[in-house]
């Protein structure tokens, strides 16, 4: 019995961490969000093999597991890295691997030659006029909060939960600013757009949402851990009233509460990732709780660690707000905590659907 990271996983973690803290330090994040250009960062990750980590070896990938992907997501969150990782390297391969018709695209993803946008979230929570309908093989409608404005091609779920591949030139892409500038999201407008059916197997749709949620949870885990680390480290340096503020019991206990809340989330992400690959019966329910729970802890950590930074936490100077906003973004995307808990209840027969 071994519940933890393998040696290979620790190496993977280290290599991603090394790349991100070297090449993608905070000033790079700032620059990238300003230019809306994450290409250099993504190329670096492609060079590390990240783009192909969930792609079969036959298509040039390395066929790793969900936990491996979660480790990468955690590091990306830790460094608030702009990148199309979740869309292109995780969700797209999860969908495309279920057919044998798009091996070329999988190979292109592995090589870093194609970026696949993901438009799946509209059925989770219908709030406005969003939603895509299929009619005679053509798609029409609006997809919102689509991941990756810079994608070449999009995987779009229609309201019937079938998933289609749509080329960039078949739709209108409207960039949509959110609070989190480290992630590019857009709105897609489709009007009798040509689309290729990838699958009408609803379970693929659910798997894709499921793994996306795990990655967002892992991202928040990394971001929240980094905020705690920064708060503890700032508290040990910052002096007020003639002593470092880390010596005030109030500050110590705030850090202890954040740590006590977040540390079990690490095991939760591990278990949930493991369940995705190995325990299909409990995977979705576990994921709902994982993302909901980590989102709540993340909200607390984001606020508390900012408070510990005092006025500095409120400024752009230390850039702490990038983490604050990333955690806020992850909280809402692909299912808010309230929606996820309601779904978790339904999955175990505690809510009629």
């Amino acid at each position: 019995m071994e519940f933890g990271l393998s040696e290979e996983q620790t190496l993977l973690q280290d290599s991603v961490q090394k790349f991100l803290s070297g090449e993608v330090a905070l000033d790079r994040v700032r620059e990238s969000t300003k230019n809306k250009n994450d290409k250099a960062i993504w190329q670096g990750l492609v060079d590390l093999g990240i783009s192909g980590m969930l792609i079969p070896e036959a298509q040039g990938g390395v066929a790793m597991g969900t936990l491996d992907a979660a480790i990468v997501a955690e590091q990306l969150g830790h460094h608030v890295t702009p990148s199309p990782f979740i869309s292109t390297a995780v969700i797209a391969p999860t969908i495309l691997s279920t057919t044998s018709t798009h091996n070329d695209l999988l190979a292109a993803i592995a090589l870093g030659e194609s970026r696949v946008g993901i438009a799946l979230g509209d059925s989770i929570a219908l709030r406005h006029d969003q939603g895509v309908k299929e009619d005679k093989g053509l798609l029409s409608g609006k997809a919102t909060f689509v991941l990756d404005t810079n994608a070449d091609v999009f995987l779009v779920a229609a309201q019937n939960k079938s998933i289609y591949l749509v080329e960039k030139d078949q739709l209108k892409i409207n960039n949509r600013t959110t609070i989190d500038l480290t992630r590019s999201t857009c709105e897609l407008l489709l009007d009798n757009s040509k689309a290729e059916l990838i699958t009408s197997d609803e379970s693929v749709y659910h798997q894709a949402i499921n793994i996306g949620r795990i990655m967002l949870a892992a991202d928040t885990l990394g971001a929240a851990q980094c905020m705690i680390d920064q708060a503890v480290s700032y508290a040990k340096e910052r002096e007020q009233f003639g002593r470092v503020i880390a010596s005030f019991q109030a500050v110590k206990h705030m850090c202890a509460e954040m740590t006590a809340g977040l540390e079990p989330c690490r095991a939760m992400v591990w278990y949930t990732s493991h369940a995705f690959d190995n325990l299909p019966n409990e995977s979705e329910m576990t994921t709902c709780h994982c993302k909901a729970h980590i989102s709540e802890i993340g909200k607390f950590v984001a606020k508390t660690s900012t408070e510990i930074h005092g006025g500095m936490g409120f400024t752009d100077l230390v850039g702490l707000h990038y983490w604050f906003k990333r955690i806020g973004f992850n909280r809402q995307l692909l299912g808010s905590p309230e929606m996820l808990r309601s779904e978790a209840a339904a999955l175990q027969g505690l809510r009629n659907v």
Partner: protein, 403 residues
Amino acid sequence: MDLSFGEEYELFRKDLKAFIKQNRHEALGGRLKSDKTDAWQKRLIENGYTARTIPKAYGGYGATLDIVKSRIIAEEFAHAGVAGGMSNQGISMLVPTLLEVGSEEQRLKFIQGTIEGKIIWCQGYSEPGAGSDLASLRTSAVLDGDEWVVNGQKIWTSSAHIADWIFCLVRTEPEAKKHHGISFLLFKMDTPGIEIRPLVDMTGAANFNEVFFTDVRVPKDQIVGKRGAGWMVANAILGHERDMLGDPNGALSRLNSLITLARSESLNGDKLIDHPVYRDRLMKLQGRVMAMQYNDMRILSSRLNPGQDAKIARMIVKLQGTELRHDIEGLGIDMMGEFGLCYGDNPDLRDNGAWQSQYMFQLGLIIGGGTSQIQKNIISERGLDMPREPRAQQVKSQEANSQ
């Protein structure tokens, strides 16, 4: 228990309503100056609807203090959605200070221009190394002939880029211990040696600035109160600032916006207000807002009826009020889900992005004006008479608490 204000006040309110109705087309307020705002400000002063208790000699209306009338004025302008009197740091913080401890020359020189909106002030208090521990500030002023020579740096200086003058805490007695060597100095913002750098904050805007002083020369007589006795002045102002930061009227207004949001936005075909989990959270917040409103009425009443004790009721306002505001904004985001993430130029934005920007700005207020941790120190030590940090920390924590 008597919640009515009586006939005199009803009449006052009636007159004010009539004034607003007649003049509302000319109303133009704000923090900045312009010919139009100046004219409106002047009309308000003439009618006693702003600068009401400032003596006529200094350009005010010259009425005696009447908290109920102040409250009626605030209520009616807010209710009508018309700009009331200008509100800026010069008017709300410096003018009361000058009235209390300024010299006659200083009052004559500054008050009228300030209340008429012709002199805009900024505040030079916090420094990078002196936040919660404000008394450890290091910006120095050294006397050289008839001038103070100021060197150092301030932070959190809102309006610095548009201000004509600054009121600034400086250390004039370097040998004195902490808050004993501090003086309260006034000087023009176009004095050579002042550099202003906007300080972008987490909302993406530059609500504040950093201000750097390099050999800034200030006439000797521009000190307010006694040399080295600026701490008491600053302290009185900070207490007043704290009251403002937890204002329950702001919370009520935002709660009402939240209710509007819940009634207009929908989720999976149902209005948000029909989702019991959101509704329960909304109702929890409404209960908290109501508690703070009544608490505020109690504070007001205690000012009218000196026998009533509302010491602790007042002490907790900043802590409770800013946390409450932050929670209200947070529910707005949560209710909208992904659409709560919209920001900046996003056309799906609701309420001009107020939910996200206020969620962050209110976190800033939880930190600013004495963090929640400092507030809890104050409540436990001054409210509950619990001991300060013992022995070795004695001197320092006293300072912590005298902010």
